[in-house]
């Protein structure tokens, strides 16, 4: 081993990672595309039969797919926007110096660390229409006149799902933004204040532009992950009521394990996620690479 040149030795060290990723990620990606051109369902006795573009043609007529796609876009757009705004607010609070800051930062992290599926059970209890604490608090505050069936009506359920996601992932966004805030030199803020800028102006002219790279990173990762949301919705609503909160991931899962339609599920995945992934990678790669080089 001592005789190997540095790059040969380096490649040897990369081998375990490459094998693991090829087997568990790269091969499955390719197999997914392959499978999407086959019929593998109950008709075919779960044998693979070449079907050409058949699965993709089906997709064009599948209104449930379009509904779930729209739901996914709505969920992603709204929750990621709220998370960025709220995360920015949290980051500003957590960046200030005050007593017990470490403890408060730790508590702010808690939602991020808890298993989504377990907390989804907690949210079904909080959202319960008769005994739920949310309705009770809102009634006492006089915000609503009668209990809302948060998970029982389509529009309420959409917002209930979004709020639970905002709760879970805002800490992640605020940590990324907090790191961005900490990298802004303090004398820069000082200088602009001496120049006579007000706090709001300083924020707009100095903080926000310098925070932009962190915001882009947070936005990218949140968007891609929100687009793939499964566990929260599967446990909280199962996609209901009446498909109002069914995202593409949930629909894919049902195609697999309720309808045993592997080929079609694969086509759904390719049409939705591989396209999204390609767009994201091509758009953001230069920026991400720079981030990594700097980090």
């Amino acid at each position: 081993m001592g005789k190997l040149p540095d790059h040969g030795f380096g490649l040897l060290l990369l081998l375990p990672a490459l094998v693991l990723v090829s087997l568990m990620v790269l091969y499955p990606l390719a197999r997914n595309v392959h499978l999407s051109f086959y019929e593998k369902d109950l008709h075919s006795g779960l044998e693979s039969r070449f079907a050409g573009w058949y699965n993709y043609q089906r997709l064009g007529h599948d209104s449930r797919f379009f509904t779930s796609f729209f739901n996914t876009v709505f969920f992603t757009g709204v929750s990621v926007s709220i998370e960025l705004l709220l995360g920015l607010g949290f980051a500003l609070v957590l960046n200030a110096s005050f007593p017990a800051r470490g403890a408060i930062r730790a508590m702010a992290l808690i939602p991020w660390a808890l298993p989504t599926a377990v907390m989804a059970m907690a949210w079904t209890w909080i959202y319960n229409d008769v005994y739920g604490v949310l309705n009770d608090v809102l009634l006492r505050l006089g915000i609503i006149d009668e209990g809302v069936a948060w998970l029982g009506t389509p529009s309420a359920a959409r917002w209930a799902v979004i709020f639970a996601d905002v709760w879970k992932t805002t800490p992640f966004v605020s940590i990324i933004l907090l790191a961005g805030l900490q990298s802004i030199p303090a004398d820069l803020c000082e200088a602009i204040r001496i120049d006579g800028a007000k706090a709001v102006q300083g924020f707009r002219l100095v903080t926000l532009p310098l925070l932009l790279p962190s915001m882009v990173v947070a936005l990218l990762f949140r968007t891609v992950h929100a687009f793939g949301i499964f566990d929260l919705i599967y446990v909280l609503t199962g996609g209901g009521p009446g498909g109002a909160t069914e995202t593409v991931s949930v629909y894919v899962y049902y195609n697999l394990f309720r309808y045993l339609d592997f080929g079609y599920a694969a086509a759904l995945v390719v049409a939705t996620f591989l396209v999204l992934l390609l767009v994201a990678i091509l758009t953001y790669l230069p920026m991400l690479k720079r981030e990594v080089e700097l980090g």
Binding site: H7, L94, D231
Partner: protein
């Protein structure tokens, strides 16, 4: 005088914002804790009972009397530990290669790593399910350990690479002149120097593995091998199909998340550092 007033106002706003943040972050979990120590008769009550008449541990007793729950904890611990170990070994070697050795095409490897970090698990579910069926690994811990290690590998590699790059190249050159082999440099110099970074990364990977849901739901179908998230999500119909045992579920949620809360409270600073270095996991 005006200055003093606006200062107080600002301070007030700040305290209000901090209080809001705390309520938001801890509230839902706090409600689980409160539900889990209420007597059953005060749980399904309208109007809601905020101060229970007495504190009870009956739900926790009932929870651990169920044979399967202790099993979920053990399964989660075993699967997450093994996956973390595997991920850290592969990640450490790869990060060393990418940070400190001149590899042709290392930008390409970085691109692959970044792309894999973005993959949502649903993309891999169908082919992995086929694979696990083919390997007869349905209801086998390996069916979770390997995918978990692979999915967290990009994150671990990027974080460790960021930390390894901070180690001065001169130090490694000097070690080489002193007769250290490249393997010796990794294990006798880099690993001890970056022990905190390794711990941070391992904690984060462990948390991600502990929380994973869709693979655990799909590849494990018998109770004996279920992990905490899937086990708890399945508790809603255990006592009777008509009544959801909220006390039991709350006790389970508190127990199943307690290890994570302890980790967060102890390692808050490290977790923030690690997440920032990787800046990658949602």
């Amino acid at each position: 005088m005006q200055d003093l007033g606006s200062g107080m106002l600002r301070k007030g706003c700040f305290i209000l914002a901090t209080a809001g943040l705390l309520l938001f972050s801890v509230g839902p979990f706090g409600w689980e804790v409160l539900t889990s120590i209420k007597p059953s008769s005060e749980i399904a009550q309208s109007p809601v009972v905020y101060v229970p008449s007495r504190v009870t541990f009956e739900h926790y007793v009932a929870l651990f009397a169920r044979r399967d729950f202790g099993g979920y904890l053990v399964n989660s611990a075993v699967v997450s530990s093994l996956a973390t170990l595997l991920c850290m070994i592969a990640g450490m070697l790869a990060a060393y290669a990418l940070a400190k050795l001149n590899i042709p095409g290392s930008p390409l490897f970085l691109v692959i790593v970044l792309a894999v970090a973005l993959v949502p698990p649903i993309i891999l579910l169908i082919p992995l399910y086929e694979m696990m069926r083919w390997a007869d690994w349905i209801n086998h811990r390996g069916a979770l350990v390997l995918p978990y290690a692979a999915l967290n590998l990009p994150f671990a590699t990027l974080v460790l690479r960021a930390f390894f790059r901070q180690i001065p190249q001169d130090l490694l050159e000097a070690a080489r002149i002193d007769g250290f082999t490249r393997v010796g440099i990794l294990f006798k110099i880099i690993v001890p120097l970056s022990a905190p970074a390794l711990a941070t990364t391992a904690i984060l990977v462990f948390v991600f593995c502990w929380n994973e849901f869709i693979f655990a739901l799909t590849f494990i179908t018998t109770d004996a091998y279920k992990t905490i998230p899937v086990g708890i999500a399945g508790l809603s119909g255990v006592t009777s199909p008509y009544e959801i045992p909220w006390g039991l579920i709350s006790a389970a949620a508190v127990t199943g998340t307690l290890p994570l809360i302890v980790l967060v409270l102890i390692f808050q600073r490290r977790i923030v550092q690690g997440l920032t270095a990787g800046a990658l996991k949602g």
